[in-house]
């Protein structure tokens, strides 16, 4: 890391800041951002092809600097809100903590690189057993069938499965949208206007609620209901406008199936 700073190469956000601090010897809020950006662009010009990762890391840090700087330059509200003042500190502290941590990982990366280099210089013994012992070893193919081999191939060739949490407490249920559509067609003409909250009051799982919502959208698409929400996060009011329908199973069946 130190070496990078010395070579005047912008390698990452921490280097940029560190360099700013060590070169300008001024309060970070006084660092002319334009000069920093010019220096960075000049640096980029010299190393082609452009490294997108270096670029984006620089942009992140530049954005934080701009934000900090603008906070200072722009006149704030007349009465200084304690909370806001506090959040300004938080911002700096967070930046500081993050840079601190990042610096540690950058140092770790350098160490890793040295370890890898050293490890690569040592070749392991892989010759294995000599002839008489080789044949004593239990056959690795003992009990292996062609099917097991195929399964092993699939295991090796497909991305490794993600270990999941124990899901024993989750009952698998199949709720289909078409069933929900049917249920709503049954119920809505009688009630005319009802809230989504009421429609889903008997639902015990999130999936059931979601499926009912999808069913409502389906009905809305068919022009059988209107949906109205007075305010953000307010109750969704469902109004049946299709009168008495001649229900046809073919229409019902067209809704997609969802499984939860």
């Amino acid at each position: 890391m130190a070496a990078h700073v010395e070579t005047a190469v912008y390698e990452g956000p921490f280097d940029v800041l560190l360099q700013l601090i060590s070169e300008h010897k001024v309060d970070i809020y006084d660092v002319p951002l334009a000069a920093v950006i010019d220096a960075f662009l000049a640096e980029l010009e010299q190393r082609r092809p452009i490294d997108l990762e270096v670029c984006s890391e620089f942009l992140v840090i530049a954005a934080i600097l701009v934000e900090l700087k603008s906070r200072k330059l722009l006149p704030g509200p007349d009465e200084v809100d304690d909370d806001e003042e506090l959040s300004g500190f938080d911002e700096r502290d967070r930046l500081l903590a993050r840079l601190y941590e990042l610096q540690a990982y950058a140092a770790a990366a350098d160490t890793f690189s040295l370890l890898v280099e050293r490890a690569q210089r040592c070749l392991p013994r892989i010759a294995g057993m000599e002839e008489p012992f080789r044949d004593m070893a239990p056959d690795i193919l003992a009990g292996v069938t062609a099917e097991k081999l195929a399964a092993a191939y699939l295991l090796a060739a497909t991305p490794k499965p993600v270990p999941s949490l124990d899901l024993f407490h989750v009952t698998v249920e199949a709720v289909t949208v078409s069933e929900a559509v049917e249920e709503l067609q049954e119920r809505l003409p009688g009630e005319q206007t009802v809230t989504f909250r009421d429609l889903t009051s008997h639902c015990t799982t999130r999936m059931q609620v979601i499926v009912r919502f999808l069913a409502l959208l389906e009905l809305c698409k068919r022009g059988w209901v209107t949906l109205d929400q007075g305010e953000t996060f307010g109750d969704l009011v469902v109004t049946w406008i299709a009168g008495d329908l001649d229900r046809s199973p073919a229409v019902v069946g067209s809704a997609e199936e969802y499984e939860g």
């Binding site: 390698e11 956000p13 800041l17 560190l18 700013l20 601090i21 060590s22 309060d27 970070i28 809020y29 990762e53 984006s56 890391e57 992140v60 840090i61 200072k72 300004g88 500190f89 700096r92 930046l95 500081l96 993050r98 840079l99 601190y100 941590e101 990042l102 610096q103 540690a104 990982y105 950058a106 140092a107 770790a108 990366a109 350098d110 160490t111 890793f112 690189s113 370890l115 890898v116 050293r118 490890a119 690569q120 210089r121 040592c122 070749l123 392991p124 013994r125 892989i126 010759a127 294995g128 057993m129 000599e130 012992f133 490794k160 993600v162 270990p163 999941s164 949490l165």
Partner: protein
């Protein structure tokens, strides 16, 4: 001076192993307590070192194995197997460092720290087998949590995660930190 029998047996077993042999397995084969086996291995390793042998006995990825002495690298280069020595970029190494020290850790946590999207790097490290999903975080989306693998230890020549350099040694020196804090502190008129 003849070598003790347990050390001889360990030499023979490790010579024909094709992967690091855990001390527990050695103990089973020799019908000895694990501590005795570990001591014997350490004694052998010290002996090879002081004899100035061309190979070492090392504890790598949870087991003991013979490997060539690093100083002999020029002679054994041609025996190096192809396809394993691809280098990792500094971005990949830094991400690997974050996973190693913070595991189990999610992609979002790494991204938040590094300030960039890390999907590509994480995928690369996973494909190389250096990191692997080790679980899922509770909460929305149940993000996959990653940890390091035995292949990671092998790549770095480490016996276990405990051999990673301690974080304290990696944190920036007090001077740099003071400078940083100094510069980031709001000026008196702010």
């Amino acid at each position: 001076m003849a070598l003790p029998e347990d050390q001889r047996a360990i030499e023979a077993v490790l010579l024909c192993a094709v992967e690091p042999v855990p001390p527990q397995l050695l103990a089973e084969l020799l019908e000895l307590p694990v501590e005795r086996v570990t001591e014997a291995c350490e004694a052998l390793a010290r002996g090879y070192e002081s004899d100035g042998r061309g190979f070492t006995l090392s504890f790598v990825a949870g087991g003991y194995r013979y490997q060539t002495h690093p100083e002999m690298a020029p002679f054994v280069e041609r025996f190096a197997m192809e396809g394993v020595s691809s280098r990792l970029s500094s971005a990949a190494l830094e991400t690997l460092a974050i996973v190693a020290y913070k595991q189990p850790v999610s992609r979002a946590q790494i991204a938040a720290l590094r300030g960039v999207n890390v999907d590509g790097v994480v995928r690369l490290l996973h494909q190389r087998g250096y990191i692997t999903p080790v679980g899922q975080a509770p909460g929305p989306g149940q993000p996959v949590l990653y940890g390091t693998t035995a292949a990671f230890l092998e790549k770095l020549g480490l016996g276990s995660l405990a051999d990673l350099p301690p974080v304290e040694d990696l944190l920036p020196g007090g001077e740099i930190m003071e400078q940083l804090e100094e510069r980031l502190r709001p000026s008196p008129d702010a």
